[in-house]
């Protein structure tokens, strides 16, 4: 039988395959470009100036880094008489199998380029004629027949090469350290104030016999902040289930609710008390930002919780929640990667997990060495990035060209 564990052990292999699948087409494409030197292929892919060079320069090529079905046309008017008069442009197109040219676009000339996507099919040769018109639609200039051009889709977006490279490095480093941790290597991580505070707050709530309120933020499930929040919740709810105290979790998104419901329920099952789970404490409240905030503000005022947790993605409601919560005298712990809201949590909560500390928190709680390994890996990625920054900066000071766009793919 296929188990999760077995799958995980094979995972490096899988990743490699994935990378091969992604990277291979790049090289294939490069090969293709170089083979374009072949005279027969050449006009199809390289820039081909057509029409008489003197007065108007017209060019066409397959649109780069796209899904196909698009040909880029551009024009540059060098003759002052034409450029003074021409205001509009008429684009005619003919596929290889067509008998005549038909108009595909009538547009203002000032754009200087046009991406023809109008029913363009891949791997078919198209020819173009461009008419330059003045404002009374009289023809000022007509280009010669240009092309043929062929549209084709690209497998790899070459402007994203740096992204792929850094994704590969990051993934590799993180997985390496997870692997090392699994093999029993011990890692040091410095203590994080907020983590201790979370544990203390849960402890205090159980002692006082008061509930905790847990707010998982207002984002969707695939948001990393939400996933990190759920990861922390899974640890908290185990403690809650073990000590028979209560946690109230109003939700903003029905899908996030579904996952959280399962996480909390299973914590109770693990603790051997599935009957103690109160389904009405974990519920969907509403998906409108301020209705959600007003509902939680009221809830906190009535339940008088011992601890409030605001962990996840937040927007303007952050301060409403934190201030309303502070009036009840509860310990408040917040954490968010929403940069604009961090200041409000800092001033109104007892502890705030800033940015990535939110993601790291789950690794600190509980004894899963693999999560800790991942955290260690993150640090080494950070080190790598700092070195990259410094090296690139020095290279730039030395005047190496192209450094100022090297990471962003030229755009």
């Amino acid at each position: 039988m296929l188990t999760t564990k077995k799958l995980q052990t094979r995972f490096f292999l899988l990743l490699m395959t994935l990378l091969v699948v992604v990277v291979a087409p790049v090289f294939a494409e490069e090969a293709q470009t170089s083979s374009a030197q072949n005279p027969e292929q050449a006009p199809l892919v390289t820039l081909t100036p057509v029409a008489d060079q003197g007065s108007v320069l017209v060019q066409g090529m397959d649109s780069e880094n796209d899904k196909g079905g698009s040909i880029d046309l551009s024009w540059e008017i060098r003759d002052p008489v034409i450029s003074a008069n021409a205001t509009k442009i008429q684009i005619f197109r003919k596929a290889e199998s067509d008998a005549e040219f038909t108009e595909v676009k009538h547009m203002d000339i000032s754009a200087l380029k046009y991406a023809d996507k109008k029913e363009v099919q891949d791997n078919i040769k198209y020819s173009y004629i461009l008419n330059f018109l003045d404002k009374d639609n009289r023809k000022v200039y007509q280009s010669g027949v240009m092309g043929p051009f062929v549209a084709y889709p690209q497998w790899f977006n070459t402007s994203k090469f740096a992204t792929l490279f850094f994704a590969f490095i990051t993934i590799a480093i993180v997985l390496l350290f997870i692997q090392l941790a699994k093999q029993g290597k011990k890692f040091y991580v410095r203590p994080l104030g907020g983590i201790k505070a979370i544990e203390d707050a849960v402890g205090r709530a159980t002692e006082m016999g008061k509930p905790c309120v847990y707010v998982p933020g207002i984002s969707v499930i695939e948001d990393i902040a939400t996933l990190a929040s759920i990861s922390i919740l899974s640890k908290i709810s185990e403690v809650i289930a073990n000590y028979q105290s209560r946690i109230v979790i109003p939700n903003y998104d029905p899908i996030v609710y579904s996952v959280i419901d399962e996480v909390v329920k299973s914590a109770y099952v693990k603790a051997g008390r599935p009957d103690a789970y109160r389904s009405e404490d974990v519920y969907y409240l509403t998906g409108r930002q301020f209705a959600y905030a007003s509902g939680i503000a009221g809830l906190m005022a009535r339940e008088k919780p011992a601890a409030n947790f605001f962990l996840g993605w937040f927007m303007a409601e952050s301060l409403i929640l934190a201030e309303a919560g502070s009036m009840t005298g509860a310990i408040q712990i917040a954490g968010t990667d929403s940069i604009s809201q961090i200041p409000f949590f800092i001033v109104a909560c007892d502890y705030t997990l800033i940015g990535e500390e939110l993601y790291a928190a789950a690794a600190y709680m509980g004894q899963d060495v693999r999560l800790l390994g991942g955290l260690k890996g993150q640090d080494y990625v950070k080190l790598f990035l700092m070195l990259t920054l410094i090296v690139l900066f020095i290279l730039k000071l030395c005047g190496v060209p192209g450094i100022d766009t090297i990471l962003v793919g030229g755009n």
């Binding site: 203002d108 000032s110 754009a111 009036m327």
Partner: protein, 288 residues
């Protein structure tokens, strides 16, 4: 005996300090409320220095009056940013109507359509302007990019009727208006990303005088456009509206709002200072 008394006194004043320190948010609330509320009854004037980016917006409307050309205003805000943006819209309308500049209003935000219509009607009434002759509101259309492109060709391409349902060809004001060239100035007032759309789909292609009115928070995003000349002027938040009002010589919500803002900010700063004094007072007592 004396020491007893003294410590009693100390605990008394400590209690009192604690009381103020912990209490009372509500006192802060009350002060805040009055700081924001009172300027609306007092009609105060705040001393505001004019900035070039507001001045040039003002000058463009003046030029429009001189050249007898119309202006176009995009009312792309909804109730959530009304307090900041409505004063700008009103200031522009008042200035234009007082100088007999015709105004064409458009809107791409469905939540703000009726708001824009009633604002135009109301200000027009103040100056005895007639709908269709001195001003017209075209109403809401979806797909702003397409409409903004079409406006470079012919307004009739997108708009068949105005907000009241009257055919474009039957509106006297629009007889001589075809596209951006017929407006001396185009203004977009919005808390959304709409002002950049005007640049990308309008200014870059058709090159007209363009001014944006935006919320204070989002202002920094637009400075680059100002430097590049794609925007001729920029109004950011209530402060700019107040500036504009003082230039036009008629004070309105911008000035009042700015007074509320000023008092609100000052209230917060004063409370920060009080909070710190009390905090140190208690700390010294604790040390004793």
């Amino acid at each position: 005996m004396t020491t007893m008394n003294k410590s009693n006194q100390d605990t008394e004043s400590k209690k009192w300090l604690n009381f103020i320190l912990n209490l009372d948010k509500r006192i802060v609330y009350v002060f805040m409320f009055f700081a924001v509320c009172l300027p609306f009854f007092l009609n105060p004037v705040v001393d505001i220095k004019s900035t070039p980016r507001v001045q040039s917006a003002f000058d463009l409307v003046e030029e429009a009056a001189k050249n007898h050309k119309a202006i176009m205003i995009g009312f792309d805000y909804d109730p959530s940013t009304l307090a900041e943006l409505q004063p700008m819209a009103v200031a522009f309308l008042r200035h234009a109507f007082s100088k007999n500049v015709p105004v064409v209003g458009i809107n791409f935000l469905p939540n703000g359509t009726s708001l824009a219509a009633s604002t135009m009607d109301q200000i027009a009434k103040e100056y005895g302007k007639k709908n269709g002759e001195d001003y017209v509101f075209m109403g809401y259309l979806p797909q702003p990019t397409l409409v903004l492109l079409n406006l470079g060709e012919d307004i009739r391409k997108s708009y068949k009727v105005d907000y009241r349902g009257i055919k474009v060809d039957d509106i006297p004001l629009l007889k001589n208006i075809q596209n951006y060239n017929d407006f001396h100035l185009v203004i977009c007032i919005s808390g959304t990303r709409m002002p950049s759309s005007y640049i990308v789909y309008g200014v870059n292609r058709y090159n007209f005088n363009y001014v944006a009115g935006v919320t204070a928070v989002s202002a920094t995003e637009y400075y680059p456009f100002l430097q590049s000349g794609q925007m001729k002027g920029l109004l950011a938040g209530m402060k700019s509206a107040a500036e504009y009002e003082s230039m036009a010589g008629r004070l309105g919500d911008g000035m009042r709002g700015m007074a509320s803002q000023t008092w609100g900010h000052i209230t917060i700063i004063i409370f920060i200072i009080i909070g710190n004094i009390l905090y140190y007072a208690r700390k010294r007592m604790d040390v004793k």
